[in-house]
């Protein structure tokens, strides 16, 4: 053997399995890190390309003379340049404005030195100019240089954390190998190996494992990067910088950790190595009294506790690492669980027909007008054909008008009027209505006080209310009605404790079965209002035509006058409707309906308000409509819809081809926000799931390290185990005694970890609750999984090496341990 390094390979070959595990750990960390770095580099590269396609210049110079331009062009740092006018976007005029006509657009040879080169050119040639900030940022330059540098530092930090895991596995593997062969190292020292030569064996072993892992990891990482690119339709490519970075952080970290390992063998005398006296430092063991664990588990518990406490630092480090891992896991799992529960609650609020598009009928609205605002038959058909849609039905709905608004108002509960946003608004409207002396004031507010939503349902949908029936029956008479009298309503703003919307469950009215409600003759009311409104529309048309003639050529004045006219007609219509309503009442043209059933929730659709629900036939009779007069469509999903077409269709229905930012004119179409809610919640879930994956990865890597470290520590104690066996401890019992150490550690770590994780979650939720009311749900299942997982990890990490302890006590007594 010409050098000691060959020994390194032999030692690695002696325990191929351990070497393979260490390489596997490095591969996993490298694949993840390289994919991350490669994708990041790819994205940065793509963004640079995209920006250069739009604005291919790094800096501009506002030339004052031709000579100045020639001087800059002759600068060796200028790679390419062209001359042209320079425009800048003006927020005032909302247009591009010319800044300078003769502008030199420049790209330099070293884009990573844009700032320095720009300043230099400005100073040398006495020219003013600007840096293409966005492009410069993509080279970590420009005025926002710090932001990009911070991003780059974050990437480096991530890389370093990964390196810690990757190298940690190698460190433990080499440490274990060094301990197993400690006598060999002693022999080598005796026959003249220098400390440096022994060190080189350790470093060489680490480097071999690390480089093999990195090599395979980079190849696999490249493949994964390409897959990621293909999935997300991105051009990723291969970026050497990722490999260099990995080599720097991994090998750098390896240098220090292998230094620690080599101290193990170089720090002891040849004689101690041969004697198997591993420890460089004598343990400072303190005498400990009998403890709680001794009282519970007897001598086994006493020994376990004292063994743990022999190296308090290591014990606390282990517990702290576990507590941190458990707390992170519980925290994230708590967030995932809470969001899941919130999703469930939110989705449940959308009731049976989660998605609907409707436009309720009402006095003044013809069925043609209503149906014209509904989604097209083709759009509805596309929705119906979605895989997740299991039921699609027509909606029959109408605003019916009460004859006695005051009587109805008096039935509103105090709770509704004082604690809800809607009740508060209703109280203000009522007050304004009562105090209005002119007809206009009353007419403006009447619909809010008199109109009630009314829905007609077929037999199946109607029967669904049975589950929410709190009083009376659904089997109603001809002049009977069922009311939805409770709901989760938006809390009054002054009562909210958060910045967001809060909800409160209230009874809206104090109606009971047997109470009555008077409803005007809706068919006649509709006809009367329709006639009046048509007359007003006609009058508006004539007056608009007249204005057009009078103000021909003065378009601005014409538009202003038309706007005034529209406002006037709008008010006229309200007054006309008010008059019709008054006329019906004065003629006694209304009917009295008895409340025969009260339900406390609308089981068919979202939204919470006082509603009347009726079987279809009775709905038609009350509203004067028929089955051709549907006012929308509703859809039921058996499972959460994941089809992206759903949101595409829904967006198309609401906004069509419109720019999403443009102002949407409200056309009376009512819809549920289910689709967007799902999108939002699912995105949130994806982010948290991603974080959870990272935490799981970190925990797994830490576990692998922990397993290796535990194996090393147990290896160090094998003489002590042999001593215990000699004085009469069976192997089985010895395993149990040492397992107890794991149990104690796990119990303490779990208690602290779960408490900390839960505390952390509650603390975060406290702040989240300042913005939006979200309830924290303790992750019972995750906690159980955490307890079981950590027990399995710790006990497994002890059990496996303990089972493998050499059968021969003699061997361990004479060679092993300290």
């Amino acid at each position: 053997m010409d050098n000691y390094r060959k020994l390194a390979i032999r030692y690695l070959n002696m325990n191929k399995r351990r070497s393979a595990i260490a390489i596997f750990g490095v591969i996993v960390t490298t694949v993840i890190l390289f994919t991350f770095l490669n994708v990041m580099c790819g994205l940065l590269e793509n963004e640079r390309k995209r920006e250069r396609e739009e604005e291919d210049y790094e800096m501009v110079f506002f030339l004052q003379s031709e000579e100045q331009g020639e001087q800059i062009l002759s600068d060796r740092r200028v790679k390419s340049a062209y001359i042209g006018p320079y425009y800048e976007w003006s927020y005032n005029t909302q247009n591009e404005e010319l800044v300078h006509a003769n502008t030199l657009y420049v790209n330099v040879t070293q884009p990573y030195r844009i700032n320095a080169i720009f300043n230099d050119i400005c100073q040398n040639y006495g020219v003013e100019g600007e840096i293409n900030e966005y492009l410069a940022n993509l080279y970590f330059q420009g005025t926002d240089e710090e932001g990009m540098v911070a991003a780059a530092l974050f990437v480096l930090l991530v890389a370093y954390i990964f390196a810690i895991f990757g190298v940690g596995i190698v460190r433990n593997a080499i440490q274990l190998c060094a301990l197993e062969n400690i006598r060999d190292y002693g022999n080598l020292r005796c026959i003249g190996a220098s400390k440096g030569q022994l060190k080189s064996i350790i470093y060489f072993q680490g480097a071999i494992l690390e480089l093999i892992g990195i090599g395979i990891g980079v190849v696999l990482g490249t493949i994964v990067s390409y897959i990621v690119g293909a999935v997300f339709h991105m051009e990723i490519g291969f970026h050497l910088i990722g490999v260099i970075l990995i080599l720097i952080v991994f090998m750098g970290d390896l240098y220090f950790t292998m230094g620690e390992n080599s101290k193990l063998i170089t720090g002891m005398s040849p004689l101690s190595a041969i004697r198997g006296e591993y420890r460089i430092k004598k343990e400072k063991i303190k005498l400990r009294e009998h403890n709680l664990f001794g009282k519970i588990f007897g001598v086994d518990g006493d020994y376990a506790y004292k063994s743990l406490m022999r190296n308090r630092k290591r014990f606390f480090r282990t517990v702290a690492a576990m507590v941190f891992g458990i707390a992170m896991f519980i925290g994230i799992a708590g967030a995932v669980h809470s969001i899941n529960e919130i999703i469930k609650e939110k989705l449940a609020e959308y009731r049976y027909y989660q998605i609907y598009f409707e436009h309720r009928l009402g006095p003044g609205k013809s069925i043609e007008e209503v149906q014209a605002t509904l989604p097209s038959a083709k759009q509805l058909e596309r929705l119906t054909q979605l895989e997740e849609v299991t039921e699609a039905k027509r909606i029959y709905s109408c605003d019916i008008w009460l004859a006695d608004t005051e009587d109805y108002y008096q039935h509103y509960t105090e709770e509704f009027l004082t604690t809800t946003y809607g009740g508060d608004a209703m109280a203000r409207i009522h007050e304004a209505y009562q105090s209005a002396s002119e007809i206009e004031g009353k007419a403006r507010r009447l619909d809010a006080l008199a109109a009630i939503e009314c829905y007609g349902y077929d037999e199946t949908d109607y029967a669904r209310y049975e589950s929410a029936l709190v009083e009376g029956t659904l089997d109603i008479s001809d002049h009977g009605i069922v009311i939805v009298n409770q709901g989760k309503m938006e809390k009054a703003e002054e009562l909210t404790e958060t910045l967001g919307i809060e909800y409160v469950q209230v009874a809206i009215t104090d109606y009971h079965v047997g109470d009555t409600i008077q409803i005007v003759n809706m068919e006649r009311f509709g006809d009367m209002v329709q006639t009046e409104w048509e007359r007003l529309d006609k009058e508006a048309e004539e007056r608009e035509e007249q204005l057009r003639k009078e103000l021909a050529g003065n378009e601005q004045e014409f538009n202003q006058q038309v706007e005034e006219l529209e406002k006037e007609i709008y008010l006229e219509k309200k007054i006309a409707r008010y008059n019709c309503w008054q006329e019906l009442i004065s003629q006694g043209d209304y009917e009295t309906y008895t409340i025969e059933g009260i339900v406390n929730a609308d089981v068919n659709r979202s939204g919470s308000y006082f509603r009347i629900i009726l079987p279809l036939e009775q709905y038609f009779a009350m509203t004067g409509t028929d089955e051709t007069m549907n006012t929308g469509m509703q859809f039921h999903f058996d499972k959460i819809p994941m089809d992206k077409n759903l949101s595409v269709i829904c967006n198309e229905i609401l906004w069509g081809d419109m720019d999403i930012n443009s102002e949407i004119e409200y056309n009376g179409l009512d819809y549920s926000e289910y689709v967007w809610m799902i999108d939002e919640l699912m995105n949130m879930k994806k982010v948290i799931f991603f974080v959870l994956l990272i935490v799981i990865f970190v925990v797994l890597m830490a576990s692998l390290n922990f397993i290796n470290a535990t194996a090393s520590n147990l290896h160090l104690r094998r003489r002590e185990f042999a001593q215990l066996r000699v004085i009469g401890t069976s192997k089985e019992r010895l395993v149990k005694m040492v397992l107890l150490e794991g149990v104690i550690t796990t119990v303490i770590a779990n208690i602290l970890g779960i408490l900390l994780g839960t505390g952390l979650c509650i603390y975060v939720f406290y702040f989240v609750n300042l913005i939006n009311k979200l309830e924290f749900h303790f992750p019972w299942l995750a906690s159980l999984g955490c307890i079981i997982g950590s027990f399995l990890l710790l006990c497994g990490a002890i059990y496996v090496p303990m089972r493998k302890l050499s059968q021969s006590m003699v061997e361990d007594l004479t060679t092993g341990g300290d």
Binding site: S730, E732, R733, V810
Partner: protein
């Protein structure tokens, strides 16, 4: 009464070409209350003899009866129980549990047997071995001689039938060595126990009732 009977005991290490005889067809008997010294050159098989006799190592073949029980037929659990009840070991390297105090180390075999230590007896042993003032000390706070005395006390604590001492003075200076041997012999006699002692020191060996000489794994003189 025979406390130890070994019949044609063989211990072989390794296989085929690397085969080494630790013990080769060893047969012997030791009487109760007897103090026996085992002497021989390094690698002659002294420690192997002691290890198989104490059930720390299993023989390749042969029969070993200790206190009326064929220990070659015991499984690991039974062997462990047998060791803690019937055998007391004293090693050259003391082999004390580093996290336990002197008193705890001494009572450990009793506690492992789920029994309450006989306080008076433990006190008596500690007094006999001069460890009263060291009861709360950890092994690393003791001198070599004190550690070996603790190991002896531990070996005696369970009132075993047989004490096996493997070069108990090997790590001690001559003064401490003589003291330890004297204490050991004295204790064994006082408690009517049997002692098998491995030693290189021929003067110490001569103080025994009988000397067994061993060479190349075979008993050459008993």
């Amino acid at each position: 009464m025979d406390i130890v009977t070994m019949e044609h005991v063989t211990k072989v290490y390794g296989e085929n070409d690397t085969r080494v005889w630790g013990l080769h067809d060893v047969s012997l008997t030791i009487q109760q209350g007897e103090i026996v010294s085992v002497v021989g050159a390094s690698g002659s098989g002294k420690s192997t003899l002691l290890h198989v006799m104490g059930g720390v190592d299993a023989p390749t073949s042969g029969k070993i009866v200790v206190d009326g029980k064929d220990i070659t037929k015991l499984n690991d659990e039974q062997m462990a129980v047998f060791r803690r009840r019937k055998i007391g070991f004293v090693f050259q390297a003391y082999h004390l549990i580093p996290v336990l105090s002197v008193e705890e180390n001494i009572t450990m075999p009793i506690l492992l047997d789920h029994r309450k230590p006989d306080k008076e007896y433990v006190e008596h042993i500690m007094e006999m071995l001069g460890l009263q003032d060291r009861r709360k000390h950890l092994p690393n706070q003791l001198s070599g001689g004190q550690q070996q005395r603790t190991a002896i006390a531990r070996a005696l604590a369970n009132r075993p039938s047989l004490i096996l001492a493997d070069e108990p003075t090997g790590a001690l200076d001559s003064k401490n060595g003589s003291e330890v041997i004297a204490l050991l012999q004295n204790s064994v006699k006082q408690l009517n126990q049997t002692l098998v002692l491995i030693t290189h020191n021929i003067d110490l060996a001569r103080e025994a009732d009988r000397i067994i000489k061993i060479a190349d794994g075979e008993i050459v003189e008993a």
